[in-house]
């Protein structure tokens, strides 16, 4: 793999082919690309290409292929696992400028978009047709469809409507050698008797290539949406309400829980939603569908809330109130920034019925390390987001944060869950991958990856531990482990 110096000779070629205004090389300016939403790992890229078209991406990748220089695709940089963070020997292919909606079919219910289109902007663009794009990560007002595709992003409404992958029909992909592959079609991601290559590409965390046109499914807006909020005096009652709702065969569009510390942080922020600050837990339930069904479901849900001793039950009377109730949930991550200078947003999954057990375990881990751990989570999926607030300038606090995170993920796996429900592995969780997968599993994944990226130059050092061709980024976990004196990857 080339040394960081290998990029400098390419500056002139890249600038000549793409235009000087699409290339950033000033080391000081490049600092802005050092990290995404996961600020523990920082690394300054060797250059940034500001691509606007498929041809720009192809041109850049061909030049980089000739010199065997690694590259890292990037959208809006809201990833929470270090996915778009690049080593000094790599070039960032920034797709934020590729934000045109290329085609919308209101009859066949799909849209073709460039990867930099912001998730919520797509919904806004089709809302006049009574349609929306279903996956809604909390960062949906910022994050891009390209990033969603790479990460197979989730969101509150994935409980009913599925993850990003369930809404991806196809993609035009620039492979690391600069060649094109058109995966899937508006009619389906997999042709009859073919392989589901588009489905595999989704969730590959930017290590297979760069999608430059993405075909996504659009969904019809429900006839009726009702959003209910219940406040509980203890977390157990909130979790039991979720169990009751599911056991009754109801399928809410979303089931979200915030704990007390999160409620208070949100209420102190510009995203205050009027959540009761004295409650130990707030449960948000959204029901959607045919008007009559939703009305009946809402009554049943209210009864279940009451049976579980809800302190307060509130229902959004109109779209504005619904927006307010959701505002707090969607702004929760940023609001946690009020508690301390840094925030480690964890992402783990347990079987839904193990939620209470998991939360108790997380509290115990927090106590053991003396760290404040707050929880906001997708209760229907068992997808936990423990947030650890810490001061990143304090090495000891950082060490305890990383150690607590490690133990929480082990707890999730021990309970039969996963180390990531929607944030991805990126560089963040390389250490944790062996909790779920052994050498044989990883070898199969590496073989699959090599089909797309035989040189290991596409977003190196991500997803697969010790499999990286890019030595510098791959060393992160070990380096951090060494600095922080915690257990590194096996």
């Amino acid at each position: 793999m080339p040394s960081p110096g290998a990029i400098a000779p390419l500056h002139a070629r890249l600038a000549a082919a793409l235009g000087q205004q699409r290339l950033l090389v000033s080391p000081d300016a490049l600092l802005a690309w050092e990290c995404d939403g996961f600020t523990v790992h920082k690394s300054r890229p060797g250059a940034v290409v500001l691509a606007e078209t498929t041809e720009h991406v192809q041109t850049a990748l061909r030049i980089l292929n000739d010199a065997k220089v690694p590259f890292v695709p990037r959208g809006a940089g809201t990833c929470l696992s270090g996915g778009p963070t690049a080593g000094a020997d790599a070039v960032v292919i920034d797709c934020a400028r590729m934000r045109r909606v290329l085609h919308v079919s209101t009859e066949d219910l799909y849209a073709v978009v460039q990867p930099g289109v912001v998730n919520l902007d797509l919904t806004t663009a089709v809302t006049c047709h009574g349609l929306h794009y279903a996956p809604d990560p909390s960062s949906q007002s910022v994050c891009t469809i390209g990033g969603n595709l790479a990460e197979n992003s989730g969101g509150p409404h994935c409980f009913k409507y599925g993850m990003t992958r369930d809404h991806i029909l196809g993609a035009l992909v620039v492979l690391p050698d600069g060649s094109l592959a058109r995966l899937g079609s508006p009619a389906g991601s997999r042709a009859p008797q073919g392989l589901d290559v588009a489905g595999l590409f989704c969730g590959s965390e930017g290590t297979f290539g760069i999608a430059t046109e993405i075909t996504v499914r659009l969904s019809r807006n429900a006839q009726e949406v009702r959003t209910l909020l219940a406040a509980f005096a203890d977390m157990g009652a909130a979790c039991r309400s979720v169990g009751d709702i599911l056991a009754a065969g109801l399928v809410p569009a979303a089931l979200e829980i915030l704990d007390q510390a999160t409620i208070r942080a949100v209420e102190a922020s510009v995203y205050r939603a009027g959540y009761p600050e004295d409650a130990a837990a707030v449960l948000l339930v959204e029901l959607d569908g045919a008007r009559e069904v939703v009305a009946e479901d809402a009554l049943e849900v209210r009864e279940m809330f009451a049976r579980n001793g809800a302190l307060r039950i509130e229902e959004a009377a109109d779209a504005a109130e619904r927006k307010r109730l959701w505002k707090g949930r969607k702004g929760a991550f940023g609001a946690m920034g009020r508690i301390n200078t840094d925030l480690y947003v964890l992402d783990g999954v347990v079987p839904r019925t193990r939620l209470e057990q998991a939360l108790a375990g997380i509290a115990a881990i927090g106590e053991k390390h003396g760290m404040l751990i707050t929880n906001v989570f997708h209760a229907g999926d068992g997808n936990l987001h423990p947030n650890i607030s810490f001061d990143g300038r304090d090495a000891e606090q950082t060490r305890r944060t990383v150690a607590a995170g490690h133990e929480i993920l082990q707890l999730c796996v021990d309970l039969g869950g996963s180390i990531s429900g929607e944030h991805g592995i990126g560089s963040e969780k390389l250490d944790h991958v062996p909790m779920m997968f052994d050498a044989a599993d990883l070898d199969v994944m590496a073989r699959v990856r090599a089909v797309f990226d035989p040189d290991g130059r596409c977003n190196p050092g991500k997803v697969l531990p010790n499999r990286s061709a890019c030595a510098e980024v791959a060393k992160w976990p070990q380096m951090i482990a060494k600095v922080l004196d915690v257990e590194g990857p096996r």
């Binding site: 058109r182 073919g194 489905g199 595999l200 569908g289 008007r291 999954v349 089909v451």
Partner: protein, 346 residues
């Protein structure tokens, strides 16, 4: 007929493959073998005896099954918990996912690959591995298990499947209206798609005689379902979707994808006679009396962006279809080579 190895325990699969039995054809219940290319001389790996529900966690909406389990056995077990596997098709579950699974079948209702949460599997060389997880949501690692869908046993042998379940709707009613002209049928399809509680299965079919029928599975609350049935003048029908079409004694079957906007054109391009069925999710199958007619249909599909393949007919013709994108074809070939470099799985 070649020898069949039929393991009774999951571990035996890897052990047997490590002994290098030569070329291997994976068989579940055997119901879809006619769709595969011939494989004379290949040893048969029969998974029918690996038939068990290892875990069923109703509260988590998940289960773990072995690949030889028959669909109807799983359905019976789930019914007791008010759950279902939202996907059409019969046979063994391994075969169901490895072939061309269909559904949840209405347009916009997702893809069966979403139901496959993870699996344990064995590579052709006998190396066991796993991918995915057994919880409803996980993005850890590359989703190699999803490649099982449509792989027809040519990439790896799945030995244990983790599946996602859903609550069975409180009211379910299969309905139909038949003896329709094509434009009437298309209007009815559109009306069904636009119901506030859209059906989760929607199908258009044509009998040998040429008359169209529309059938659907209406779901939700009884009052609502009944009102929709009355409003659209739908009669009750036997549960079950009309795909796949029964393999005809002569002629060929083309399977493809067609979006709603292509449907009128596709129906116009069909052979004058012969069964045809289309699901709201986009999948269609059409019987064709002879190769010339089939090729005409495939030419229409190529010109109109509908991927299609011959799935039944003479061995020499099976697998022909509309051209794949060369880039995608190269990747698909690469994946086969990467996972089964010696071409053992036939």
């Amino acid at each position: 007929m070649n020898a069949t190895f039929a393991p009774e325990r999951v571990e035996e699969v890897a052990h047997w493959l490590r002994q290098r039995p030569g070329r291997v054809r994976v068989v579940g219940g055997g119901s879809r073998q006619h769709e595969l290319p011939d494989c004379d001389g290949a040893a048969r790996l029969g998974l029918g005896r690996l038939s068990a529900i290892e875990r069923l966690d109703p509260g988590d909406l998940t289960c773990t099954v072995l690949p030889g389990l028959e669909r109807r056995e799983l359905d019976a077990a789930l019914a007791g918990h008010g759950l279902e596997l939202p996907c059409l098709g019969e046979g063994t579950l391994g075969g169901l996912f490895a072939s061309d699974p269909v559904g949840p079948a209405a347009h916009g209702a997702g893809n069966p690959r979403g139901l496959l949460l993870g699996c344990d599997a064995v590579l052709a060389d006998g190396t066991p591995f796993k991918a995915g997880a057994r919880v409803v949501k996980s993005v850890a690692g590359f989703d190699v298990h999803k490649l099982l869908v449509g792989s027809r046993g040519t990439l790896f042998v799945a030995t244990r499947l983790h599946l996602r379940l859903q609550a069975r709707p409180r009211a379910v009613r299969w309905v139909e209206r038949d003896e329709l002209a094509i434009d009437e049928a298309l209007r009815l399809c559109r009306a069904l798609r636009e119901l506030p509680a859209a059906p989760d299965v929607l199908a258009l079919r044509r009998s040998d005689g040429g008359a169209y029928a529309v059938c659907a599975r209406l779901v939700g609350r009884t009052r609502l379902v009944d009102a929709a049935a009355t409003q659209l003048a739908l009669q009750d029908r036997e549960p079950g979707a009309p795909l796949p079409l029964p393999s005809p004694a002569t002629g060929e079957v083309v399977r493809g994808l067609a979006l709603p906007s292509a449907l009128a054109g596709l129906c116009g391009a069909l052979p004058a006679r012969g069964a045809f069925a289309w699901l709201g999710g986009g999948r269609f199958e059409a019987c064709s009396p002879d190769p010339t007619t089939t090729d005409r249909l495939l030419a229409w599909c190529t010109a109109n962006g509908c991927p299609a393949t011959i799935v039944a007919g003479p061995a020499s013709r099976r697998g022909r279809g509309t051209p794949l994108d060369p880039g995608e074809a190269r990747l698909a070939h690469g994946l086969r080579t990467a996972l089964d470099p010696d071409g053992i799985l036939a």
